[in-house]
Amino acid sequence: MQEFDLVIIGGGPAGLAAAVAAKEQGIENLLILERENKLGGILNQCIHNGFGLQVFKEELTGPEYADRFINLVKEKKIRYKTNTMVIDLSKDKLITAVSKTDGILTIQAKAIILAMGCRERPRGALNIPGARCAGIFTAGTAQKFVNIEGMMPGKNLVILGSGDIGLIMARRMTLEGAHVNAVVELMPYSAGLTRNIVQCLDDYEIPLKLSHTVTNIVGKDRLEGVYIAPVDENRKPILAEEEYIPCDTLLLSVGLLPENELSKKASVKLSPITGGAEVDEGRETNVDGIFACGNVLHVHDLVDNVTEESYIAGKAAVKYLKGLRIQSDRIEVKAKDGARYVVPKYINPRNIEKSLDLSFRVKDIYKDHYLSVYFDDSRAIHHKRKIMAPGEMQTVKITSEMLNAHSLCSEISIVIEKE
């Protein structure tokens, strides 16, 4: 059995940034475990640009962004093992992994950072009726085919769900010569960024059918077509207006789910809303010494935010290892009226040096509404925001002065208010 101070599970942007932060804070004996043959995570297949505006102040593609961090990891001589998949984790921080070269490995860690990212919702999670034929992929799987393997999953497509990966793939497949008939979205608004609607759909005259869904799938061995229909305000399909679209491929871009099977094995408590762990301000879970960051914690829109969050987790893990984290007197943070969730869920005020950013998502589109933060019944923040949309993560800063002024408070809440 090997022993490490800190083991990071997952070598995507979250794991890499957490490792860099921990090393910078003086931890030498650390290890990154990654199941793929290369570090960088999902970014390796996201070849479009738009990454890194916040962290590097320039627009990079996914693989370039990943490469910056891979180089930092190498420069700082941080140890990592690729082709190594963690299969078990206990709450005492005992890790079991399998690797092509070493077989089964057991590693005892003093602290662990979970950075396993997320995966896409498969068809099973959706309950679309119809044939079980070939030609149905998640958008991310198709992205890997095209951008890594250089293979086209099909020629004539329909995309269900207007998440960013679906929009990006609509453009990508068009550039590769395929025909995209439509992007079909159940909600009355897109889940993706406006920029992607304009530059991935409008530029190529690909129709976006809002308030529509796929009602049936036709095909024997290979997909032959799909039926789509508009939905009413209760999201029930209006079958009288059903329409048939012949196609050989259906891509699903219907949401991402944090990948938390390992976390469950270690008795990490998960939030029913985010699917990720419930953490405090240092991104420490309910299990002593186990931290989480990146998409395994909650799904981020921008990798820049993943990087920032992972620095926080990396630094906090070092404080934990040095016995400098304070665990008592934590305050619960709640998302209320209009706010869907907030990370972190707990704050230990004595761990906050200057300020702390709360990240949250709203339930609906709110224009000209106020974002308020209450310490019990006292409103400390009341900011008007031009727009808050479910597709864009919001942040709000609370300062140590605010925390000091409300030192006896038992709960902090985020509320979206009309006035």
Partner: protein, 123 residues
């Protein structure tokens, strides 16, 4: 006179803009909530540009294709022509981030560079 409907991408508001164009000049923009909307409308209606990202085949490499980008934005109307030109190219592994694929794509004066590292693999 011509009317065009656009969505501003300047911020998440996504204002719906109505642009009036006369003799290829933008003469009026309505629907914007701030000045960025004006600038965006003028650029989109007179000289729309995009960065192109796509892949190029790599012999004996993994990934089996190399992702590439135009170093600067190019006229939107040339995107498909550029993709066609890049389809004819085959690189040989290994290739590295920053390697130049083409000095001047489709007479735009813009370089195309590699954005990923492809290692040489034995097949």
């Amino acid at each position: 006179m011509e009317q065009r409907a656009l969505i501003c991408i300047g911020c998440p508001m996504g204002c719906r803009l109505e642009v009036t164009i006369e003799n290829s000049q933008v003469v009026d923009v309505t629907g914007q909530s701030c000045k960025i909307g004006n600038t965006y409308a003028v650029k989109e209606c007179t000289n729309p540009t995009r960065i192109l990202t796509t892949t190029v085949e790599v012999e004996n490499g993994y990934p089996e294709v190399a992702s590439v980008k135009t170093e600067r934005d190019i006229p939107k109307g040339k995107l498909l022509e550029c993709v066609k030109e890049l389809k004819k190219i085959k690189l040989t592994a290994p290739v590295h981030i920053g390697d130049i694929v083409l000095e001047d794509i489709a007479n735009t004066g813009v370089r195309v560079v590699v954005t990923t590292n492809c290692d040489l693999v034995d097949k």
